[in-house]
Symmetry: C2
Amino acid sequence: MRIALGELTPDPRTFLGHAAYVQLAIFETVAHAVATAPHPRAKAALSPVATLSLAKYDGLVNELRRAGHDPVDAMAGFTADTDAFRHDVAGADWYESLVTSYVIAGLLDDFFLRLADGLPDGLAERVRALLEAGSGGDVVVAQLLGGIQSDPRLGSRLALWGRRLVGDTLLVARSALEVPADTRPDEARLEPVFTELIAAHTRRMDAIGLTA
Amino acid sequence: MRIALGELTPDPRTFLGHAAYVQLAIFETVAHAVATAPHPRAKAALSPVATLSLAKYDGLVNELRRAGHDPVDAMAGFTADTDAFRHDVAGADWYESLVTSYVIAGLLDDFFLRLADGLPDGLAERVRALLEAGSGGDVVVAQLLGGIQSDPRLGSRLALWGRRLVGDTLLVARSALEVPADTRPDEARLEPVFTELIAAHTRRMDAIGLTA
């Protein structure tokens, strides 16, 4: 029996706290790429990507406040794992940090967007509107294509890096699923949940000419 | 004879390019403070400060586009000096980077706000509205007060750091003034231009209990 992602959505406070803190980590990754951009044109091109991510974070935090929750308390359970994740995927140079921004924003925005299906009516639509607003992938793609086209070896290195990221990023997604202990499905039954996510990831890697 | 700041405003493209790139440097400083915050509550409190700064940058870049200028070309003349400035004022730890965010955002937003007086009508009002939108100083003050109150020696160190920043920051401001070579005033006549800026800076340092 196929399990839909919306059947594994935790309560709204847990969902919003996790999604918000993950979005803050995405923002920090993008902001680091802005700060370390090798030239002003790249810096200027990337800064709107940081804006998009901060706007999502702000929107998720506002939903927590609207529901009467303290946003920091709601995020507290996810800070240690998310900080460790961000550290692990920081990358060794600017191009790797760009791939990180692109891969984790793509996968995790997509994941929380689908997971939002299981939120109560009203909240589900508002969260989907927030997360559908785009994550500036086209801007990151343009920067990556420029680098990869002028140095094919960079492409091979970034493809490897992209593959490493997927495992860590899917673990973040897995940790956001509410899987009740008494009805715990075996992991094989959870796998199809991630199939569409991985397919979308493969299309994103294709867009920069890299094999996922 | 007293010189008003609005008499030393460069042409709009120069003003907007310089103000925008300086704002991007302020954003990067704040984003670094977000990323290195010692606990999630501080991180969450500071992230809206980054939003404010990015919004100003976006607004200035939009004014460049509106006037038909390429934003990156307009910023190009200011990237080297501004990057060097940001590097020099990065600070040795989180508290120093907070003081940097507070001092340089305070002084430079105030400076470009006053300098906007010399822009053409319409543009002047729009730029003032952008820069008056606040720079989140209250949030930074709350974080700094918390640290300083629990460790008086931190206060002494940060007061020293704040004093060092002022000189570097005023040099950035000085470099944004259009002082025609044929009517170059002596530096003593420029000094009053900075008097109000420094008075406002002193009030900001008072707010965190530090001597400017």
